[in-house]
């Protein structure tokens, strides 16, 4: 027969395990590095007087929490949800981990705060569209493009990113989304060649698809590699390569349609 005190320890472990599993899964889906997730988990488990053993895999997180005297344990496997990179969530959840340790928050308090954090809206999609267009046009300038090429790249980027946003809303496969966006952006940016606009049409064409390059997944993959988390590193690297290959294929398709030769 389970003693009442053991029952409450078990309930406490179960609650904490469920919360920490969800916390870690949301952090991974939001683009945090594996080392960041591990530090945050250990900090919170330490605050609630538990020992955490865990394994962060590309699709699931396995958490095993032990009581302080190592007599009881509870394990959870949580599936990592799909989600876009969100550094705001990563920042606030990391803050939550520090506050839990410093202000001795309970599991319920932490759960409430986490629910509030995950409910925050992202930056308005129209603002992102404009900023990405400006960013890619600046890229064109950094590579030596003239103002006309910059304008062409701005229009091509805004169009490509707009289509990417809409197709992502329609739940298209992310590789197809990259391919179609890259193809559209490349076709529009080749107007320097087609209509003879600007002095640097090659720069416009070369920089038009750079908004699709997955910089953060590549960086996270290398960060995981440096810290010895090889499986996660390989998984993130493969995902980044999928996107890169898709955008290259989109560019090649645009070249094929317009009969532009690459050498």
């Amino acid at each position: 027969m389970v003693q009442p005190q053991q029952h409450s320890i078990h309930e406490h472990l179960k609650e904490a395990s469920s919360f920490i599993g969800n916390y870690a899964a949301i952090l991974y889906a939001s683009g945090a590095t594996t080392i960041r997730i591990e530090k945050n988990i250990l900090r919170m488990a330490g605050e609630w007087r538990m020992h955490a053993e865990f394994s962060i895999l590309p699709t699931d997180i396995i958490i095993s929490l032990w009581s302080e005297n190592k007599e009881h344990s509870y394990s959870t496997i949580v599936r990592i949800p799909e989600g876009a990179i969100n550094y705001r969530t990563v920042t606030y959840l990391s803050c939550l981990s520090r506050r839990t340790a410093q202000k001795h928050l309970s599991i319920d308090d932490a759960r409430c705060i986490m629910q509030r954090i995950t409910g925050f809206k992202r930056l308005d999609s129209r603002a992102v569209l404009f900023l990405v267009g400006a960013a890619n046009a600046s890229f064109c300038r950094l590579f030596g493009g003239d103002p006309v090429s910059m304008a062409i790249v701005f229009v091509a980027t805004v169009s490509g990113f707009f289509i990417k946003q809409r197709l992502t809303e329609k739940k298209w496969d992310y590789r197809m989304v990259s391919l179609v966006s890259a193809c559209l952006a490349a076709i529009l940016s080749s107007s320097g060649f087609v209509f003879g606009w600007g002095e640097t049409p090659e720069t416009a064409l070369a920089t038009s698809v750079l908004f699709l390059v997955p910089g953060i997944p590549f960086s996270n993959a290398v960060s995981d590699l440096i810290h010895g988390r090889y499986i996660c590193s390989l998984s993130r690297f493969c995902q980044a390569m999928m996107i890169t290959v898709s955008l290259s294929l989109g560019l090649c398709l645009a070249f094929l349609i317009l009969n532009i030769k690459f050498y």
Binding site: A32, R36, T91
Partner: protein
Amino acid sequence: MNIFFELLEDGIFASIAAIGFASISNPPRKAYPFCAGIAAAGHITRYILMNFAGYHIILSSFAAAFVTGIISLPAARRIKSPAECISFPAMLPMIPGMYAYRSIQSLIKCIESTAEPEFIHYMYMLKLNWTTCLLTITGMVLGATLPVFIFKKFYFKQKA
């Protein structure tokens, strides 16, 4: 004086690029000015090393990322966020995207080629672009992470 304006122009456009690409990852609002400033500093460093000192892109990117990493430590402490939430978006203008997609295009051209010299040329392009891309990104992330190891005490004593 010309050099000063060149550097200023490079810094301004790098900061605009950093803000734009960072907005895709939705960083905290307070991080945007820091991302912009740090990206400008990093990109100017890389520009000087590549164009005036003649260093290769890999070494220049590593040095630029190290500068980015050093500046992002106090910035992250100021806005109470992890350092990588500022340094990774700030490094986005330096990510060698062109090398990445050129290597895939070279691969496609390799398969399409009919003669050996053509194949060898595209294989060379594939290996050159791919190695440069991979080593540049690795160098950049290593450069951004090194300050965390060096200044561990300073980094991990952040207040909530």
